[in-house]
């Protein structure tokens, strides 16, 4: 990511990446049909990339093959601030350090939920972060 001091950096929103509050990811087919689904967790790969565990993303995976754009809505478990991330899909890792790290994390989460079979990790989708926008929320109902 660029070094614009006003730009929100991934390292400044660490509570978005601990899996406490499940994020959601949106993709779109080439024909413009959107799709949205929950994630178990979003991971920081480096200052400009995030990773998403691919467990059962049938439509998400199909859409990314046609259109690499994606968007994530994620809430920081420490501050409860919500962020919208514009992403560009780059690759899927099915082995290597990132895959092994996420596999261990997923197995831990799924064991706690007693859903080990359901949450088997298939790969780690890696995205370049294009933009991070804080969502304005929190007013009382009127």
């Amino acid at each position: 990511m660029a070094t614009d001091p006003d730009r929100i950096q991934l390292r400044d929103i660490e509570g978005c990446f601990d899996g406490v509050i499940p994020p959601a990811i949106a993709t779109s087919s080439a024909a413009g049909e959107p799709n949205v689904t929950h994630l178990s967790q979003l991971y920081v790969v480096d200052d400009g990339h995030v990773g998403v565990s691919n467990q059962f993303f049938g439509k998400t995976t199909t859409n990314l093959a046609e259109n690499p754009h994606a968007a994530v809505l994620v809430t920081d478990s420490g501050t409860y601030d919500t962020y919208h991330l514009d992403l560009h899909y780059e690759r899927t890792d099915t082995e290597g350090p990132l895959f092994e790290e996420l596999k261990a994390s997923i197995e831990s989460i799924s064991s706690l939920m007693q859903m080990e079979d359901v949450f088997a990790l298939r790969g780690v989708d890696v995205y370049r972060v294009l933009a991070v926008r804080r969502i304005a929320v929190g007013a009382p109902p009127s």
């Binding site: 509050i21 959601a24 049909e33 929950h38 809505l73 919208h84 969502i135 304005a136």
Partner: protein, 150 residues
């Protein structure tokens, strides 16, 4: 899912999210803070006013995806369809829906161990009402049926 069952599901404090995509294929995802099924085949959603890209391009015929999830059981349903009109400010009935959803979803979050502050922190500042004519339903519950028609 039968329409009556869907209407009941929408009124049970489920988590609500939506998505749209612009002409370049860039999607946007946003919170929904209340939804009803005012007639067979139509879902009315209260979309967070922060979904600026969505409001720029959603009008009659625009495709939208809506995700409804029971946060206690993970039962999840995604519906897709076309917007029936332009987003509009909520009327009295829709603000009543907003407040009812606020109570139900806040209770659901507290039911799984989150503090009430979470609901008040993620509640949209304002919402716009959008009617969506539903033409597809998908079971989004984690497991072997995920993504199949509901």
């Amino acid at each position: 899912m039968q329409w009556a069952d869907l209407a009941q599901f929408l009124d049970s404090g489920v988590a609500m999210l939506g998505a749209s995509a612009d002409a370049t294929g860039q999607p946007e995802t946003f919170r929904i803070w209340g939804a009803t099924a005012p007639e067979e085949g139509v879902v009315r959603v209260l979309v967070s006013a922060d979904a600026c890209r969505t409001f720029e391009q959603v009008g009659p015929g625009a495709r939208m995806a809506l995700l409804f999830t029971d946060i206690g059981t993970f039962r999840s349903l995604q519906v897709k369809g076309r917007a029936l009109g332009e987003p509009r400010p909520p009327g009295p009935d829709e603000m009543a829906c907003f407040r009812r959803y606020d109570e139900l979803f806040s209770g659901a979050l507290q039911g799984i161990g989150h503090p009430r502050r979470l609901a008040t922190s993620i509640r949209p500042l304002a919402v716009y009402a959008v009617d969506v004519e539903v033409d597809q339903q998908f079971d989004q519950t984690p497991g072997p049926r995920a993504g199949l028609p509901a």
